[in-house]
């Protein structure tokens, strides 16, 4: 339970943070049908969504593995409670992420 919940919490927390900071190591350029590690100068219309998801997935796998390997004292209901509340907070935070990406940049 703890590892699964930690995975979900880590994913939903890290994804908007990668997004708001434009941290995608994988980019896709649909006009050129080209994938790249990092942004390629000169190419336009770069898509970062795949990279953000992949970043969050890798981060969540690491955190999930740590939660599984490292014994922590926590009540049985703490992790499910966290995993049910945090996504709602990140859903609201994502509104801010869109605002930043579309109107402040």
């Amino acid at each position: 339970m703890r590892a699964i919940a930690a995975f979900s919490v880590a994913f939903v927390v890290s994804y908007p943070l990668f997004t708001v900071n434009n941290l995608a190591f994988l980019w896709y350029y649909p006009n050129d049908a080209r994938w790249s590690i990092g942004k390629v100068a000169g190419l336009r219309n770069g898509m970062q969504w795949y990279g953000w998801v992949l970043d969050a997935l890798i981060f969540a796998l690491v955190i999930g593995a740590l939660a599984w390997a490292v014994p922590l004292r926590s009540s049985r209901s703490a992790w499910p409670a966290l995993a049910s509340i945090v996504p709602i907070a990140m859903l609201i935070f994502s509104v801010y992420v869109v605002y930043v990406n579309w109107w402040l940049r």
Binding site: A5, V12, V53, A56, P80, A83, L91, S94
Partner: protein, 156 residues
């Protein structure tokens, strides 16, 4: 273009199936039937919620995969059109949709675990919240996808 259209329709049909399943499950846990009744509403709510979990996970992954295949075409042909017609906010809300879908992907493991690996008499509040969260993700994505499709128009 024919391939994109085919993927769009498969995406729509799978999304419809997902919408039906998650709505059934969410209503059955948030508004459970207390006594047996022959009414349509009671029958709609009186489903065995847990059996929906696996199909919902599989459908969510398939719909997200289909959406990710369509996404480059959106960036090439739809988003520039929206910008050219001063409909930039439509693009912004679409970006929110992509975040909503991603957050739903992150929640899938704990959703599945709470439904399939935890006794249904335990962790009910967490299970209900996660299920309702996923239902919001599906409903928002479905409705906004429909709005966006209408904004430009099929085949235009």
């Amino acid at each position: 273009m024919a391939t994109i259209t085919a993927i769009l329709f498969i995406h729509l049909l799978l999304a419809l199936a997902l919408l039906g399943a998650i709505t059934h499950q969410t209503i059955s846990v948030l508004w459970p039937v207390r006594a047996t009744s022959p009414s349509f509403g009671a029958s709609y709510r009186a489903v065995r919620s847990a059996i929906y979990a696996n199909p919902i996970v599989v459908l969510y992954l398939c719909v997200a995969l289909m959406g990710s295949l369509l996404y480059p075409q959106y960036r090439i042909s739809v988003l520039p059109w929206l910008r050219a017609h001063e409909m930039t906010p439509y693009g912004a809300v679409f970006e929110y949709k992509e975040h909503v879908v991603a957050l739903g992907l992150g929640v899938l493991p704990i959703y599945w675990y709470l439904w399939k690996m935890v006794d249904l008499r335990e962790q009910q509040l967490a299970r209900n919240i996660v299920t309702a969260f996923l239902a919001f993700c599906v409903w928002f994505s479905f409705l906004y996808g429909h709005v966006l499709n209408n904004a430009k128009g099929f085949g235009s």
